[in-house]
Amino acid sequence: MNETTNRLNRFIPLFLTAIVLLALLPSFYYPNPSFYNWIHSEPVYGYYQLGEGILFLIFFALVWKKNKADPPLRYVLMFCGMILFSVIVMFIHERTLAYGNGQSFHLSLYDVSTYETEIFFDILVSFAVLFLWRFAKEDPRYKNVLPILVVLLATISVIYGFIKGPDPSYSYVYYSSFFKSSDDLGKVLFAGGFSLAVLAYDSHSYLRYLWISLAFALLVATGFLGLSITFWCLTGASLVLSFNLYFDRYEHGVSKALKMGSFFYALLVLALVLLIAIPSPIATVLRSYFGDEVVAVISSRFKIWRSYLDTLSSWRVFVGDGLLGFYRSSLFQGSSPLYTPLENGIFEVYNSGGVVYLLFYFLVVVIGLAKLKKEEFFHPIFYGIILSFSGAFLFYTLLTNERLLFSSSYLSLIVSYLFMGYAHHRNPEDEE
């Protein structure tokens, strides 16, 4: 491998950091919403996403070419099949719908092209994640740039969230910090928690304990910010991790203090669950932080999913409904066309391309897991961190609009970088 290729591979984490920042930028709403309003105006957002996508594709075409990284033919065929299928499905999906008393709703070409471009981009992102991001592991000099940036962003978001205070228009605790909705804050904090876990793994002595303490503080803050979905996903992942640390028989750099800490952490989580579950005045207070959002969100999500599934019929069952699927339920209820996000990764994928898309993402996750197992199985703590947080992320996607594991949204980009591109070693020489 020549020096140019090495430099290019070394640059992958830095490039991904820039892409994550570009993907995250349109989510900032506070303290000044004028930038948000401008970037979300009609032609600007489309061009912005297109520019970001083109930048991404150019860089990864370069990585592919320079590394001569030809994936196995079966996977190339699978991705080619997906592109071909997406083109066919693009023409199958309807763009006009008659509703009410002779009224009709027509999707604009701009909306359709933005939506379809995003779908193609997601397919290419999953290709890059599976077959190109692993080159970042070959010279992991800048591997911590993205996790550190995410941790900084999460910490600042928490501080600003508490300074700004909760939104009084909600019946439950609702903080959104810099963002328009608490969903984005939850995503940033989830990414922060995952990043802190890998940073703690990568560091030694006092720095490791600093990252663990910060992770614990972030987790507590997530609970008190009322982001209970994020809180329980992070708690679940960290609980699995604590079991992994406690039952590690081969002492992979795990100190006795860390083992005891894991044990007490598991006890603490158990105590919290009991405190919330057993009716008492404390339980009432705790539920407002750790339970109300989950209940409110799940009940509202169920309504959305039900109305989406109720409108699904005929050939749409096989290939999804495309962009019209986001409007159909509001039109069937006789109201004006209203874009309703499906708030579920599985439904988002299903709506884009039906059975084949779900099968494709299922296979992509299986291929990713197989590759991860092959590369990291003999580093059980690191493997445990990646697996537990990725599992928590998959669960997280069930209640948010994240499109399963490998998509172009900023949280997915961060998670998939840590999943496939983050090296467990510091230098190539450290690798056993």
């Binding site: 199958i92 299903y350 039906g354 084949v356």
Partner: protein
């Protein structure tokens, strides 16, 4: 000369094998779809019955064909194709889905457009998705062949 003849003979068997495979996959997805619609009072029992019958016949024929194409000269010609069983299984699901779309459109919206009184989207999406996964796994293992040539 003899090998060229055998190859020509193999092409016809392969065309038959792939056609039956597609009929089996499409009818399987369609049968699940019409079953879901019928369960929710969709009155598609005749369509379901015919398609399920076609599926069973195609399933048996495919099994016989697969056994035949796993031995002798046909088996040896099939070997290179069997190594690409992963994309073959994936493409089978893709093509079967597209055929299912066309047939469902014809039956539900052109030939017999009767709206179902109860919503069946959730049931149909669930069964068809599971059917797609099953079909992928089935074709993957089917392409491994039978007997001595099994991969």
């Amino acid at each position: 000369m003899e090998r060229s003849l055998a190859k020509n003979y193999f092409r016809w068997w392969l065309a038959l094998y792939l056609s039956v495979l597609l009929i089996q996959a499409t009818s399987f997805l369609l049968a699940l779809y019409f079953l879901s619609e019928s369960v929710r009072d969709g009155n598609r029992w005749i369509a379901f019955g015919i398609i399920a019958l076609v599926n069973i016949i195609a399933f048996i024929v495919l099994h016989v064909l697969n056994n035949k194409m796993s031995v002798g000269s046909l088996g040896s010609f099939m070997q290179p194709l069997r190594t690409s069983r992963f994309p073959s299984a994936f493409f089978t699901v893709i093509i079967a889905t597209l055929f299912s779309v066309a047939l469902t459109y014809l039956i539900d919206e052109v030939i017999y457009p009767t709206p179902t009184p109860l919503s069946y989207g959730a049931l149909a999406a669930g069964t068809v998705f599971l059917g797609g996964i099953f079909e992928f796994i089935y074709v993957y293992y089917l392409f491994q062949g039978q007997g001595i040539t099994r991969l």
